[in-house]
Symmetry: C2
Subunit: 232 residues, 2 copies
DNA sequence: ATACTGAATTTTGAATTCAAAATGCAAACG
DNA sequence: CGTTTGCATTTTGAATTCAAAATTCAGTAT
């Protein structure tokens, strides 16, 4: 009978059909953060429509969303431009990132299990190795994974979402090429302290470390931007 | 000569012509926070288009933006529904609000001038008076003005924007009708402490007070929601 | 009577169309 | 020779149109 068949059917997650505009939001975000669309330039709506073979409707919906994220600026009747990243922007964004990461750290200490800590330990080891080899690219990559892992461990999707939105806004500063040896060493030391606090589940201390870590990072990035006018 | 005329022209702020979709975002936000569009119901796209005499294009753009703000949920091919506000949501949002307000408080202490403090003192007096008269509506109103004034004094538009987005998300809980006398008294005491810290420009203390203030508020709101199933 | 089937209707996503605004450009004027 | 003015072109905002998907509902079979 029908009953049996119905109960034997497992509940699978529904096939995710994404809307065009959702897809576009992601694609455009990449274009901007990767630097293909440079700060200050007008977003070529028509050209992008051709490129992705979509009409202007979903493209414009995507631009509205990106505007809200702060990646582009929408001037009525004059289209979209990629927002410039100024030093003032960094001074606005980094302190916020700081308190959000601190909160994430606190929550992570409350919720994380040993397996979670172990995972972060592995990322940390990876990062330390990159530091030894002066592999800046690899260092940044595992560094990001650590911060994302902490955020995930906090178990607060809203928080994680806000963090990634802010991170996206400043990622464009391709400061990757710029980090003094002294600062780099300091950053690694800060990460050691983080890991220790996390092992001990000391949320307050981890939060404080993360916040100053971000403050220092802000100074570093501002410094890099000051030298490289192309991002401003 | 032309020079003279040109220099005599003052630089005025440009006439703001808002796009339809921008206007709609605000209107819809009000509909949702004021409760005309109740949590859980499907957003009647067609009806709203008729109501505001616009076509579906700007309406859908507005819904995309609201979805990103978390006020509506967009399911592909199934339209928009007003997001329900669950206790879990509050547990996510309030801690974030807490650290953002704390940061705003810290920054405000750094930047605010005496006139700014005086303005907040006035709101505070107003609020205290409402408390004496047990005027809950008025109390909430001046309460909100105080928090907004602190945020404004922080001088960080990004921060203020994030705060108002989060506030909008939880404002719908019309917990206005629910606040125990004991909690109310406590809240007023917390506000007294805030004002004192602000007068003394003690950012760290103000931040800490704001954060616990929000934590307490969260407990109160959760309590109210627990009783009133219509919001959940 | 109840549960399934399938066609009609409605709703949604996206392309196209249309009007208004901005931009570019060249001719006219000082 | 440099400005300014008016026109043509392009770009933008919004309405309309069209196709695909979901929903509704009547009819059928069990």
């Amino acid at each position: 009978m029908a009953e049996v068949a119905r109960e034997s059917l497992e509940l699978e997650r529904p096939i995710v059909r994404r809307s065009l505009h959702d897809e576009l939001v992601e694609r455009l975000r990449v274009l901007i953060t990767e630097g293909e669309l440079e700060p200050g330039v007008k977003v070529p709506e028509k050209a992008l429509c051709d490129r992705y073979a979509v009409s202007r409707t979903p493209m414009r919906e995507a631009l509205k969303v990106l505007a809200r994220e702060g990646l582009v600026e929408l001037v009525p009747n004059r289209g979209a431009t990629v927002t410039r990243l100024t030093v003032a922007d960094l001074d606005e964004v980094f302190p916020i990132m700081g308190v959000l990461e601190a909160l994430a750290g606190e929550l992570a200490c409350k919720n994380i299990d040993d397996a979670g800590v172990a995972k972060i330990e592995r990322h940390h080891a990876q990062m330390a190795q990159c530091y030894e080899q002066r592999d800046l690219k690899g260092y940044f990559s595992s560094n990001q994974e650590i911060h994302e892992a902490i955020s995930a461990a906090a178990g607060n999707p809203t928080l994680t979402g806000m963090q990634s939105a802010l991170a996206g806004r400043i990622r464009r500063a391709r400061y990757l090429a710029n980090m003094s040896d002294a600062r780099w060493e300091e950053a690694v030391a800060e990460h050691e302290a983080m890991l220790k606090a996390l092992r001990e589940r000391d949320g307050t201390r981890l939060g404080a470390i993360l916040r100053t870590h971000l403050e220092n990072k802000c100074a570093t990035v501002k410094d890099a931007i000051g030298r490289d006018r192309s991002t401003a």
